[in-house]
């Protein structure tokens, strides 16, 4: 180690001890900067194939069909912005003559922590019929469901959009305000319903398997804000 420094007062150390200390310092530094009290205990992880697809879409999402801005490097570093990817728990329900996709997102906040949502999008995979003679457009609707309610009842239409599905592809739905209202309300489960129709047929990818790379997900670009003043704060 180096000779003792007057401003830190640490005596020189053995190499092994120094390495152990540096690892501990690195751990503490990482946890502190990520605002974590301890390392998260992850038992059931998202399937790697779904994760890789989401990350690939996230990083290639610079130019989007709906005109939203790119996710990366959008927040000044000093504001400690985060990008959150959350995979949906899927419940396929049968509502009268059409199928709909019920998505539930767990979105918990630390107590006393207030989050500002800068941008948020729901990513849904729409599958092409493969028939060149059929209309390649389909109508997609996203609803906000009341938590705990029965699918199809007590729901609010958030977005209605025509999708071009000449080829199977991902599509985004901006839900920034919805997510902000959800977080401001201190709720825990965000329930959305998606329906895609063309001539009464559902063409969305409604695969309920957790192994599919087409699993719907939600991306949010957020940053912490002070819960009292609603203004951004920096700690020194």
């Amino acid at each position: 180690g180096s000779p003792g420094c007057a401003s830190c007062g640490l005596p020189p150390m053995e190499k092994d001890a120094e390495e152990r200390l540096m690892i501990e310092i690195a751990k503490q530094q990482l946890l502190e900067k990520l605002h974590l009290k301890e390392r998260p205990n992850i038992t059931n992880t998202v399937p790697r194939v779904a994760l890789l697809t989401a990350l690939r879409k996230l990083h290639s999402g610079r130019v989007r069909q709906d005109g939203t801005i790119e996710l990366e490097n959008n927040i000044p570093t000093k504001d400690q912005g985060y990008e959150i990817v959350s995979f949906a728990d899927i419940n396929e329900t049968d509502n009268s003559d059409k199928a709909s996709l019920s998505l539930t997102f767990q979105f918990l906040q630390e107590r006393g922590q207030s989050i500002q949502v800068l941008q948020s999008s729901l990513w849904i995979y729409a599958r092409s019929s493969g028939d060149p003679h059929r209309d390649s457009r389909l109508l997609a609707r996203v609803f906000l469901s009341a938590d705990g309610g029965v699918s199809g009842s007590n729901r609010t239409l958030l977005i209605e959009k025509m999708l071009e599905v000449q080829e199977s592809n991902w599509h985004t739905f901006t839900i920034t305000r919805t997510l902000q209202a959800f977080l401001d309300g201190g709720q825990h489960r965000l329930r959305l319903e998606v329906s895609c129709e063309e001539d009464g047929q559902n063409l969305c990818s409604l695969d309920n398997s957790a192994e599919t790379p087409n699993q719907p997900f939600l991306v949010a670009q957020v940053r912490l804000r002070d819960s009292h003043s609603k203004h951004l704060v920096r700690k020194r």
């Binding site: 992850i42 059931n44 989401a54 985060y82």
Partner: protein
């Protein structure tokens, strides 16, 4: 900024890399695979002190306080980080959501004497 080696005794940057797999942190950190933390070490003789850097102002203040109070005035200055860069991370948070964030000032790029 010098990189530390066997013959280097003056202020230099020591490469220090932690592979997350080695500390069993790869279960919750998706990317990157490790952390190039790096740190500064070495002597800062009088003629090297006062090298400019973003971190030097705090240490310079400490030193001037020490001198003002007559404490250890003969001591050399400190070898500290003068340049850092952010670390981009993708990880599972406590709620099992996947978070991507750029954490500022995490990787020591260069060192200098206060």
């Amino acid at each position: 900024s010098l990189r530390c080696g066997e013959d280097v005794t003056v202020c230099c940057k020591r490469d220090f890399y932690i592979k997350f797999k080695d500390i069993q942190w790869d279960e919750w950190i998706i990317a990157p695979e490790g952390y190039h933390m790096n740190y500064c070490m070495g002597q800062c003789p009088q003629h090297l002190s006062g090298s400019p850097g973003i971190a030097s102002s705090f240490h310079a203040t400490v030193f001037s306080q020490l001198k003002v109070n007559g404490i250890n005035t003969a001591t050399t200055s400190c070898c500290v980080p003068t340049e850092r860069r952010p670390l981009s991370m993708v990880y599972f948070n406590s709620q099992h959501s996947i978070v991507k964030t750029d954490v500022p000032d995490m990787i020591v790029e260069s060192c200098g004497c206060t």
